[in-house]
């Protein structure tokens, strides 16, 4: 269905081709997962399917790409609209109209389908994706998961043969992500769609995949069955890593597979406990940040309802909960820049919201969800110099911090050209330059690959070890399992649960990391913990 023949793609500013002599043939009705580190060419591969690469990105493509028999050299993207449906990373960025129904109809209007057929297909699509109750709602008012489903629906209405999805769940909480993935798998099973999907969080999708196209980063594409590719690839979800560690063959891809192999491992781990690595509970006596009765509301919508929170020195806490449960609002209120209707926040005896913003950021630093909003200069160097000046540290201070966080960023690059992980590191360095006691990170793992997340986890642990108090709002349970001490679960603005990461994460069906699910009732959270214990058991 999708045929790449000897395809190479080279961008004008790059020396090395992003894709090199790629031969890829994805047969009809297959869900093919595209995996690879950031910058390995996943988006290029996806874009080449319907000709967006090179039409919209520039660069040269040699070789031949055919979809359902049509050559992208002779068919521009708009003439492939009836065979390929593309959903980008940010569904909201691709919306053309305002309401769900009109958005679904847009593609069909372009294909000049008769109105009667359009009415019928819109109804069908609303049903297939469970969007019926939302039909006349404004797109902007929908939650992330709903928007993603509308975006998928809006390309499905034209009955394409191929669906291309670029990180469809990156902005979603675990439950919404499962919703979207369930919708996609149903489409593959019921309609025989061919789906090409790129995703960083393999743990979410790998069990639905029929095949994997792995981009190791040197321009090649390895294609094969999931077990085959993940057996050797550098990136793998925790379930596969655990399988490799335990020597299971073939490798398990789903929790179910792994649990069926795991009894023996569970027995080996029976009397071991993983707790040693981290302090069991934080020093509760004098927290760095102390928030009491925080209320944030927008009109009659309550975002944070009477929340209490302590962040201790040397402690990392995670704020978790579904999309829109008030995590961001709470972080902004703690920092003092956001709205807050009631309650008290105290850091080192001071209330950050009463201080001028320069002083507030010395107490509490916040890295927002879109870190790029803080960057406005042309080079990394200039941003660092500006941060030195803003924070009153000696010249070079921020650059030195950045070098510790991300040594591979060259100073003359434009901040916009950095990868997500590098940009995050830059903003983190800028905020750390003010030496805040407390650091808040809003959804930092979005768009990060496993390596970048590993690095972020190490950075966060390092900062905690240096005495900072850190709060991270995140959907990423695997990251939370690795990096945090304590988890606070929010629901509709209220604190629903609070406890050590092990207590909260291992017990929750939605937020349990894969290792915890496989090894329950034993309470291991990460592969590293299991590895450590196994090394101790059988030296």
């Amino acid at each position: 269905m999708i045929d790449f023949e000897n395809v190479s793609v080279r961008y004008p500013d790059g020396n090395e081709p992003v894709l090199r002599d790629v031969d890829l043939h994805v047969p009809e009705g297959e869900l093919c997962l595209v995996v690879g580190t950031t910058g390995a060419g996943k988006s290029t591969l996806l874009g080449a399917v319907n000709g967006l690469v090179p039409t919209f990105t520039g660069g040269t493509l040699s070789g031949r790409v055919r979809v359902a028999g049509r050559d992208t050299r002779t068919h521009p993207p708009r003439d492939l609209a009836d065979v390929v449906g593309v959903v980008g990373q940010d569904p909201a960025a691709g919306f053309v109209t305002d309401t769900v129904e009109e958005e679904l109809a847009f593609g069909m209007e372009q294909l000049a389908l008769p109105p009667a057929a359009m009415r019928k297909r819109v109804e069908e699509t609303l049903d297939v994706l469970g969007l019926g109750p939302l039909r006349s709602r404004a797109l902007r008012d929908l939650s992330g998961g709903q928007q993603q489903r509308v975006a998928i629906g809006s390309v499905l209405v034209t009955h394409p043969h191929v669906l291309v999805l670029d990180e469809p769940t990156s902005a979603l909480d675990p439950v919404a992500a499962e919703d979207v993935l369930a919708a996609i798998t149903r489409l593959v099973h019921d309609l025989g769609l061919t789906v090409l999907v790129a995703e960083h969080r393999l743990e979410r999708v790998v069990q639905c995949a029929d095949s994997i196209a792995y981009l190791p980063g040197d321009g090649r594409v390895e294609y094969g069955s999931p077990a085959e590719i993940l057996g050797t690839s550098r990136i793998a979800p925790p379930v596969v890593e655990l399988g490799r560690l335990a020597g299971w063959s073939p490798l398990p891809l789903s929790i179910r597979d792994a649990r069926r192999r795991a009894p023996e491992l569970r027995v080996r781990l029976e009397n071991e406990s993983p707790a040693a690595a981290r302090p069991a509970s934080p020093p509760a006596s004098s927290p760095l940040l102390r928030a009491r009765g925080v209320i944030v509301r927008y009109g009659d919508l309550v975002a944070v309802a009477d929340a209490d929170l302590d962040i201790g020195a040397g402690e990392v806490i995670a704020l978790m909960g579904r999309n829109g449960c008030g995590k961001s609002s709470l972080l902004w209120a703690l920092q003092g820049s956001g709205a807050r209707q009631a309650g008290a926040v105290e850091v080192a005896g001071q209330e950050p919201s009463r201080l001028p913003s320069k002083a507030a950021r010395r107490l509490v630093g916040l890295v927002p969800q879109t870190p790029g909003d803080l960057l406005y200069l042309d080079t990394v160097e200039a941003e660092c110099a500006q941060a030195d000046e803003d924070s009153g540290v000696e010249p070079g201070g921020t650059a030195a911090l950045l070098a510790r966080l991300a040594p591979d960023i060259s100073a003359d690059r434009h901040p916009r050209d950095l990868s997500e992980g590098q940009r995050l590191a830059l903003v983190l360095a800028i905020q750390l330059a003010a030496a805040p006691a407390v650091l808040l990170l809003d959804e930092p793992t979005r768009g990060l690959d496993y390596d970048a997340k590993d690095r972020l986890a190490r950075i966060v642990r390092g900062l905690a070890a240096a005495g900072h108090g850190i709060a991270v709002a995140t959907h990423d349970v695997e990251f939370a399992a690795r990096a945090v001490d304590r988890v606070v679960v929010l629901g509709d603005g209220e604190v629903v649960a609070e406890g050590t990461a092990r207590d909260v994460l291992a017990a929750s069906p939605a937020f349990a990391p894969q290792v915890a699910k496989i090894l329950a009732p034993q309470r291991f959270l990460t592969v590293a913990e299991v590895e450590e214990v196994l090394a101790g058991v059988s030296p």
């Binding site: 691709g94 320069k358 790029g372 924070s391």
Partner: protein, 381 residues
């Protein structure tokens, strides 16, 4: 008979508003103008939806007040009244101007008559504005753009997209301004501008590119195969039509020089352009989801607007002093019956138009409040 809620055809609203605007343009009688305003406001409140653009009517009202104020102030400054019969309201110091500026006067006497005339005039302008505002409030602007001929469809779509980009720009400005505080304030002067503008513009460009790619991959801009002859004919028709229009408007504007050019030029030009657009529309293949029907309520609404305009035109001929009351001598303006009836007919859409379809209540967390993207806004589905 039972009527289901549905949006009225946007064209009907625009024609109704045009009729009302014609009525307003024929009169300076403040009572009539206020009546027209009242009618427009009544219809707007009765038949508007709760869409964002439907809340705009009061902005037009405010804008109208500003127009009146400007008109009066300008009249006071530049319209010194030397007529001996007028009633002096106040006297501004007059600025002596050189001889070459004869005819221009700054300062001087301000008369009641002058102020009154300026108020009437300003009120007429404000009413015209509000007629446009009423149409804009009642008709979904995006659906209105759909009435463009097929050949201009893509242009209309581009306008729609540009219009929806505006609130996004506001949103991202607010987000960046908030983020600026995290870096210790926005700074001053040029730096403040840069702090905001650079990320916002970057963001807007990224968005536009993403949107363009998304639209293209969904088939926007598809062409059906058209023979080169047809393409050339379209071009020739349009060019000829435009030339005709130019000649026609020249004839209209300079009536004395070329009286024979005006009508045939304009009519021929319009005909050729319509033909060209019709032919060009064949190239753009697209269809319309749920096209707006044109049924009897549309006819009734248009009819009421046209009736108002026509009756006012008739009334202005029958009773010029009532419809355009002289300001001197000072007197309370009368209320000509025919004109009043005409304006009142224009209130019919408040009943004749079907009730607007209601959209579910919108509960949105403001972007500015939480720096959360709208996709984060979870609502009970």
């Amino acid at each position: 008979m039972h009527r289901l809620p549905r949006p009225l055809h946007p064209g009907a609203w625009w024609l109704w508003a045009a009729g009302l605007a014609v009525a307003a343009s024929r009169t300076t009688n403040p009572l009539l103008l206020l009546l027209i305003l009242a009618v427009a406001a009544y219809v707007v409140t009765a038949r508007r939806t709760d869409a964002p653009w439907a809340r705009a009517f009061r902005f037009y009202l405010t804008f109208g007040l500003v127009v009146i104020a400007i008109r009066v102030i300008l009249r006071c400054i530049f319209g010194g009244d030397e007529s001996p019969t007028s009633h002096v309201l106040a006297r501004l110091p007059e600025v002596p101007l050189p001889a070459w500026a004869a005819g221009v006067r700054i300062g001087g006497r301000i008369s009641v008559e002058g102020v009154l005339a300026a108020t009437y005039d300003g009120l007429r302008l404000a009413t015209l504005l509000c007629c446009v505002g009423a149409a804009n409030t009642l008709a979904n602007p995006k659906r209105a753009l759909r009435m463009l001929p097929g050949a201009l469809y893509e242009l209309g779509m581009a306008v729609v997209v540009a219009v929806s980009a505006a609130p996004q720009l506001v949103e991202s400005t607010q987000r960046v301004a908030r983020a600026g505080r995290l870096r210790g304030g926005l700074g001053r002067g040029r730096r403040a501008i840069r702090t905001i503008v650079a990320p916002v513009v970057h963001d807007a460009l990224d968005r536009s590119l993403a949107l363009a790619a998304a639209m293209d991959s969904r088939g926007y801009g598809r062409r059906t195969a058209v023979s080169p002859t047809a393409r050339r004919t379209t071009g020739a028709l349009l060019v000829a039509g435009l030339i005709g229009l130019c000649l026609g408007s020249y004839g209209l504007l300079s009536a004395s020089d070329a009286p024979g050019l005006a009508l045939p030029g304009t009519a021929g030009g319009v005909a050729l352009c319509v033909l060209g657009l019709a032919l060009g529309s064949r190239r753009v293949a697209h269809s319309e989801y749920r096209p707006d029907p044109w049924l009897w309520p549309e006819w009734a609404v248009v009819g009421s607007g046209v009736a108002a305009g026509a009756l006012l035109v008739v009334a202005s001929h029958l009773d010029p002093a009532g419809v355009v009351p002289p300001v001197s001598p000072l007197h309370w303006p009368s209320l000509p019956l025919l004109a009043v009836v005409g304006v009142l007919i224009a209130a019919a859409p408040a009943v004749a138009a079907p009730p607007p379809s209601s959209t579910p209540a919108r509960r949105t967390k403001p972007e500015a409040g939480a720096s959360r993207s709208p996709r984060e806004t979870e609502l009970a589905a």
